[in-house]
């Protein structure tokens, strides 16, 4: 079918036929992939890893107002584990970020599928659907706040006209509604991200396997499940991972609209971190929190990846 094998060429090594050489040059070739990766790794090491390690070190000290007072050992961590705001933050991030991610994936994938077909004005639709990502996040958050603000809310007005609600829903004063509001904002702003990545993935699919399957008599659903999905798997995983990890940093909307309220129902972990690190300037405590968040994400991502998704061959 699609499996082209040529004699003498081993599929899984990196030394292509026209470059096979012997001797010391061959030895250098082994480092080729590392050379390609080197600039990336060096930059990442300098700009992200090194400061992060500095932060980790700071987490073992007590650093109120940015000045190191004393060595605290695991004190910050112990305090964190007993901190109700910390666990509340994790819970809220999970609820809000998780729901938003699921919706973004579902809607984004649907739209990408629809637009990978031949439709009139396809290009226009595609361009329009990626616009929400482009608006400055603080402006996005504030405009949505304006549209949700009880007493003149456009969203409530539209919903009333559609007969979906009566009265004036208290979007910013009621915990469930406030969370829903943030989810709507995130879905509006970030579905384009998933949409775009999946669309490009769908566009990049080789048509032959699909055509061959159609010839073989498979229907649309079978083609989708057995050909499209497996081929798209690496891209789906990346899209989910990246968007998921960004959901952990869910911040702008909370900051501009609810401030973590009502009560503490919309305080995400990122906002709590900001509150501790930048408002109270308790740098040691904030660093400890970052480390724990990192560990949680690390473990989760590791688990998901090892379950046989990406980098599996």
């Amino acid at each position: 079918m699609f499996d082209v094998r040529r004699e003498g060429v081993e599929k899984d090594t990196f030394s292509p036929a026209c470059l096979k050489t012997k001797g010391s040059f061959m030895k250098l070739k082994r480092f080729y992939p590392y050379f390609l990766l080197a600039p990336t790794l060096i930059i990442l090491l300098g700009v992200t890893l090194y400061p992060f390690i500095y932060s980790v070190r700071l987490s073992f000290f007590s650093v109120p107002f940015g000045r190191i007072r004393y060595f605290a050992g695991l004190e910050n961590y112990a305090e964190l584990l007993h901190d109700p705001f910390f666990w509340n933050g994790i819970k809220n991030t999970g609820i809000i970020g998780g729901s938003a991610l699921a919706l973004e994936f579902f809607i984004g994938f649907t739209l990408a599928l629809l637009l990978s077909r031949k439709i009139k004005l396809r290009g226009l639709f595609r361009a329009v659907f990626i616009i929400p990502m482009m608006l400055i996040p603080v402006v996005t958050a504030l405009i949505w706040r304006l549209m949700f603000f009880p007493g003149g809310s456009v969203v409530s007005d539209v919903l009333r006209h559609l007969r979906l609600v009566t009265g004036d829903p208290n979007w910013i004063g009621q915990p469930t509604l406030a969370r829903l509001m943030l989810i709507v904002m995130d879905v509006w702003a970030w579905t384009p991200f998933i949409f775009m990545i999946l669309l490009a993935g769908l566009q990049g699919l080789p048509p032959e396997p699909l055509e061959a399957a159609e010839v073989d008599g498979a229907n649309a659903l079978q083609r989708f499940v057995h050909i499209t999905l497996p081929l798209l798997k690496p891209i789906i995983v990346i899209a989910l991972l990246l968007r998921g990890m960004d959901a952990i940093k869910f911040f702008d909307a909370v900051y501009a609209v609810t401030g973590g309220g009502p009560g503490s129902s919309t305080e995400t972990i990122s906002f709590y971190l900001y509150r501790i690190g930048f408002k109270s300037f308790k740098m040691g405590y904030a660093s400890a929190m970052s480390v724990i968040v990192f560990v949680i994400v690390f473990v989760l991502a590791n688990y998901l990846l090892r379950k046989g998704f990406i980098i599996e061959e």
């Binding site: 990442l44 490009a200 032959e208």
Partner: protein, 277 residues
């Protein structure tokens, strides 16, 4: 059969149109708010069609603040950091996608792990480093930071797209006598154009709209970006100066939108496989 297909088409269009309305409406509202009279912005019921509009806020934002400089800075910093991340990240992505070498999984995971913590964590060390390097309030600081942040995106996403392209396509080119590099440029690159374009747009959007580091590392119109400038209309006595803020928001989209419209045809697969065979 035809009726069913037509029915499906209509349904699809209906869904798409609803989606377009939902996408466009907040943007339209932003634009509308930038020209509304101040008193009309908060009204119950909301005012959809104002009977009086004004360009005063536009003038305020453009002439009395450094909006032009913010625009220039944002465009320059985004463009440069995107180009750099693509140039540096593409080889790395290729390496992860095509070669098998010890430590591959771990290095890929390491690159992913740089996105696993909230950026606030490293904001202060970076601030201090930039201060020592003398990069504060210059383009350099943000270019370095954004290139690094975008690199992980570029590498991970592009490696997934590169993997999508079957080896055979590249190998047939190799057998035909070209080098690894040649096959990269002739085959891999064109076929992964949708992915590259998607990533480029994402990088630009990210650099354009980033706030935390922009506000910490810049001070004056020499380097201030649009997201930071926009916040000059928030806070203090006025609460939110909706007119100028929405104006800045509206014009901020325009260049990225233009860029996306220009390259959106590359979101489609360029060469077909048949042409190679």
């Amino acid at each position: 059969m035809n009726l069913k297909r037509q029915g499906t088409q209509v349904l699809i269009y209906a869904v798409l149109i609803v989606a377009v309305i939902i996408v466009i409406f907040p943007l339209w509202w932003t634009f509308l708010t930038s020209i509304k009279m101040r008193l009309d912005i908060y009204h119950d019921p909301p005012i959809y069609i104002p009977h009086k509009v004004t360009l005063d806020f536009w003038k305020l934002a453009w002439f009395t603040r450094s909006t032009k400089e913010w625009y220039r800075n944002t465009a320059g910093i985004s463009a440069i950091s995107t180009i750099l991340s693509l140039l540096i990240g593409m080889p790395a992505a290729y390496s992860l996608a095509r070669f098998k070498f010890p430590g591959r999984k771990d290095l890929a995971f390491y690159i992913l792990s740089t996105r696993m913590f909230p950026p606030i964590t490293i904001s202060i060390p970076i601030f201090q480093t930039m201060q020592r390097l003398g990069f504060l309030d210059t383009w350099y600081a943000l270019i370095v930071v954004y290139t690094a942040f975008n690199l992980s995106l570029v590498v991970l996403v592009l490696s997934a797209y590169f993997k999508e392209i079957p080896r055979e396509a590249e190998e047939s080119a190799l057998v035909d006598g070209c080098s690894t590099l040649g096959s990269f440029f002739r085959i891999t690159l064109p076929l992964s154009m949708p992915g590259i374009v998607a990533v480029a747009v994402l990088c630009i959007i990210f650099s354009w709209n980033e706030f935390l580091f922009a506000v910490l590392l810049t001070n004056s119109p020499v380097a201030k970006t649009l997201p930071v400038g926009a916040t000059e209309f928030i806070g203090g006595e006025e609460g939110v100066m909706w007119g100028p803020l929405c104006f800045v928001g509206t014009i901020s989209i325009l260049p990225i939108l233009a860029f996306a419209l220009l390259i959106q045809k590359h979101l489609v697969r360029g060469l077909t496989f048949g042409a190679i065979r």
